[in-house]
Symmetry: D2
Subunit: 364 residues, 4 copies
């Protein structure tokens, strides 16, 4: 089955390269009757868009999405929703110098081995540019989940290189260019990024995503557990190298008495599980955390080889994000929205609708 | 699509509960002509089997697998391979006391909310018992990968609670009951586990898995990247709460100049990528690491509720693994084998066979 | 995706050869809470079973199905249902003579080319024996559809070679060994079959299947239309060479004014559509008809080649059905049940439950 | 899984309504390295295009396809191919009169029941307009199959209402507006259509499709047999009510000695099987035949109901094909091409490439 399709009932199939004519996707399986316009997607696209601060790439992309089908008189019809974003800034000349060089740690080497074809224009399909369509599709899922089920999905940057956010103040997340929830760390992050940019280097980051109001019961053991599908979705984002649910890697050193989330009639007493037990949502917030690597497209020279196998020193001069994690928060939110939407529909298919009247602990 | 099926071309569909009549699975899509007998699977099943040391549950399960179809005159025929393991030790009376109680942090709470049905017999489908079939199916994939492509998949326990393995000596892995590759840490682990057992508590662990000899080109961007499918596969194992590829969460604090794996005509100079670039294998070893939580089935009392919503104090008296991570190494290996096998077939479908003659750096 | 899996939400994955140890299947996605026992399946299995009259093969197969999982305390749990039928009559010696010969018009030739492997035991996987699992799985779907939605699925043999049933009296269908709904034609069919058996030849047949009470709205255009999935399901039955929905091939010569099923507030005035408009059920009975070819396993000699490419004259001496269509009615019913079940769940996933209160014409 | 996706490895996902902004599709899984331009698709699109003779609808659609991704420097890259056709003739006012009326035998009734939404613009998604994307996608498959495997796929109209083609002269097929292979019947067909148009009625048709040069071995029993997937594909085309493979419904009255295609070292002696044995291609031509119903959109009044359940008399005044079968030949060819392409890739995934050196009878 197509590697460019995500989901089983709410499916997103994507196409497009960074320097081609356009990006697009098809959302299939969206329930009918949802009010939907371009504006619903544009809000999230604008949050991901490059060039909104000096800390991201200065490439300009309008990222204006058009709905081509599946919506009639302002509402979804249940038929596939075609979305399109035309590429407006395609300066592929930036890449001409490296047409024959493999950039170290870059996908051009593996794409070449896989397909025997070299699309040197900014990474072609492997560029993070494709994540725009994830954000657009995620916005549809997010709107449905919010309106019909009261689910709220929010993310934030919890660490930028060595700098950790120590407070989680949701109101701060959109007050700075980093999606940082800790106002006290913003100045430090700005200084760090300014120095990094001067240096010509890049840095990794950590993003957390939380979904509140998720009804218990979502997830399809044993292979399509909710956390397994989240791991799939989040690890499929460019540059992600690690995924945690709840306590994540901290649970290695936890004892069972500490890790187990005890329950009382009033609710769970902790959330080490991150809202998922046995692969099924428990009604607690779903909590995931991801690690994003630093970009390998640097103007600092690196040892590599060319397509003939000869050693070369590579310098990448295009416009790249020194920290791809900075723009990743809306992408991670989008992927979580798509997973939850898909699992809600899958659950409803097999089991009927989630019961809003079931007494769920912690939600009384 | 079925949540109990994994894979797209090499598919494993599984059934069975911990205290039902039998476990089984169907492997579909296995290439014909592979020599296969029960013994090929039994070797791995025996490595996962409980009761082989005092550090795992004393429940006795023969875990004898039978091939019911798909093999004729000692070779696979290309038709589906039916596998069966009959349950021999089904003491479900152990669980009768807790028939009406939700165990804290246990899947019985979420299964009840999902399906409206309560199978209190040892967790039913949510029991780790189902992983036996993953190991059996993985053994088939592993054999093919080894024989046809020279791929070797091996795992080890890299951390047991607070105790980290500091050396990686593959020869040691099967010399102790923990799959620990560092002989110097085994005594410490034994003492730790003895104390833990006395205490009645449980502990988490970390497992690493490595696949060597993987040809470049496997993985299907953008959603079915090799690392994304690995994350899916590994996170679907019971008790796993985190997955890393290569440098994993360490890449948050890495700079690009440090993280990027430079290339020379002789090979890559590092492997922070864990063998995957842009979602496609690079020819380097595939390296994954997972965190397993401590089991929540403890004889130490925990606060919980019963099916009527009343507060209860739960004590679990069954025979449980104090560290589920100890037996998890063969399971993680199996899931990696299944993912690689599936992606090899998917790659061959679209692109033709991997070329053994392509000059791949680092494999000259 | 696996060629041995049918369905998207209600999935049936099958294994087993005619002369192997056992046949089996896994049903995944069955809603929880359905009362289910072996007896529910045995009723339909017994209707398909060989040897119940002199007009079918005299091979004896008990076809006793066992439920291995997914049912607890008499009800489905929502987890996968493992089913097993052990083969009891495996006289593979019958086939030894033809181990090196391709039977004319038989699948052994194409299996050999596909897999490079020859399983000469009664056709191995290509034997109609696998349809037993379809019948077992179909019985689960049928029970759900009947109990929850009031859907009734029934089939009959409408033509045996040159003899056409001219009346449709449902009460007659189970009063004769042919599933013939026209009592007046039974004697003629018996005489025809007796002569055919003596001759050593075989004959084709036509089966019709009807589902009544199907709610409007099932079917997923544009590719997974209800009729397209029915065509897939029915054409996948051994020996089927044609599928019609409603008027079928008769519509070639129909004018639009004749073909179109006019509607009044009291209902449709005809059913040329066979209950499907635009790929979606209309609320009218779903009507399908299939053509089954005569078996090619004959004791009358036929020209063929052997595995070395030499010409041979083949005589098949095993015990074969002179008209495979005679036992096909329960199989066609089962496949229709599986398709409707799958589409009901898919519809419910995207659109919520079918409304029993929606005013549907013709059902007021 | 998405009802708007066809195929498993070579997948086509489609969107678009007859009167929306555009139609489009995403082809995923296409092998890299195939030379491809818009012209390759335009040739087949032009054959399907309306308005090329007085016998089809006079609606004018340029049907100009654009490639948005997946092709670089004139060759496919292995990444998804995005295709777009903008709608240029969207006179939706034609439909305003019937905005509240269900047309008899039309999908607007079932779409309304399924989705609870009414898109009255020319049938919206249910319009045959979507088949343009099938033709475009099929052209890609066809080109690959032809270039790499020498497969040739051709179709023709074998019956128009009561008029049957009696000769099969491939050279004639494109010499008349009907795709009729029998020059002697063209005048009769023209007269018939002229009379029909005057009358205001419509008529059914039969289309045959043949694929030559298909290697033996394609098809995935038991459920995804080649013929079953063909039936799925062909029945998913608008207006198709029946599908036959090889002898089709004629096999009901055939005896086994007549039906079975005998083999000699020089080849098969007949092709009742239509090139498929046991669900796998035999090396003989694949032969399928389909029945297309007459359109129900007529200016002759028909009894129906409106959305409020009241009786109405419906007259459809839009521009419709009096025989939808006339333009269906390229669509049927396209669907066969997609099925064969998908099965070729699936076969190659599991079994390795088809061997061109295998001695196949009849192809020596």
């Amino acid at each position: 089955m197509s590697g460019n399709t995500f989901g089983k009932l709410f499916t997103v199939t994507s196409f497009g390269e960074s320097h081609g004519a356009a990006l697009g996707c098809i959302i299939d399986g969206c329930p009918p009757g949802l009010e939907l316009s371009e504006a619903d997607m544009q809000r999230d696209l604008d949050r991901r868009k490059p060039g909104t601060s000096r800390h991201t790439t200065q490439r300009r992309e309008a990222d204006e999405v058009k709905i081509l089908s599946g919506v009639f008189e302002g509402k979804t019809t249940g038929t596939p929703i075609g979305l399109l974003i035309e590429n407006t800034d395609q300066r592929s000349k930036d890449y001409s110098k490296i047409a024959e060089q493999f950039r170290p740690a870059h996908a051009d080497y593996t794409y070449m081995h896989k397909y025997g074809v070299r699309d040197y224009r900014g990474g072609g399909r492997s560029s993070a540019r494709e994540t725009a369509m994830r954000v657009a599709a995620g916005a549809v899922a997010r709107k449905f989940l919010e309106q019909r089920l009261g689910i709220r999905i929010r993310g934030y940057l919890s660490q930028l290189g060595p700098i950790k956010a120590e407070k989680l103040d949701w109101d701060q997340v959109h007050q700075n260019p980093f999606f940082c929830p800790d106002a006290d760390k913003v100045a430090e992050m700005e200084a760090y990024m300014d120095a990094l940019r001067k240096e010509g280097d890049s840095i990794g980051a950590r993003i957390n995503v939380v979904a509140e109001g998720v009804p218990p019961g979502l997830g399809e053991p044993i292979f399509d557990r909710l956390d397994a599908d989240l791991a799939h979705a989040l690890m499929s984002i460019n540059a992600v190298k690690g995924v945690e649910i709840g306590a994540g890697f901290d649970c290695i050193e936890q004892k069972g008495t500490e890790h187990r989330d005890e329950m009382t009639p009033e609710g769970f007493l902790s959330n080490n599980a991150g809202g998922v037990l046995g692969g099924i949502s428990s009604g607690q917030p779903i909590v995931a955390s991801i690690a994003l690597k630093p970009t390998s497209s640097l103007r600092l020279p690196g040892r590599s080889i060319d397509v003939h196998g000869n050693p070369v020193e590579v310098i990448t001069t295009g416009r790249h994000d020194p920290c791809v994690g900075i723009r990743a928060t809306p992408i991670a939110e989008a992927m979580m929205a798509i997973v939850l939407m898909d699992h809600y529909l899958r659950h409803r298919g097999q089991n009927g609708d989630v019961s809003v009247s079931t007494p769920v602990i912690g939600q009384l």
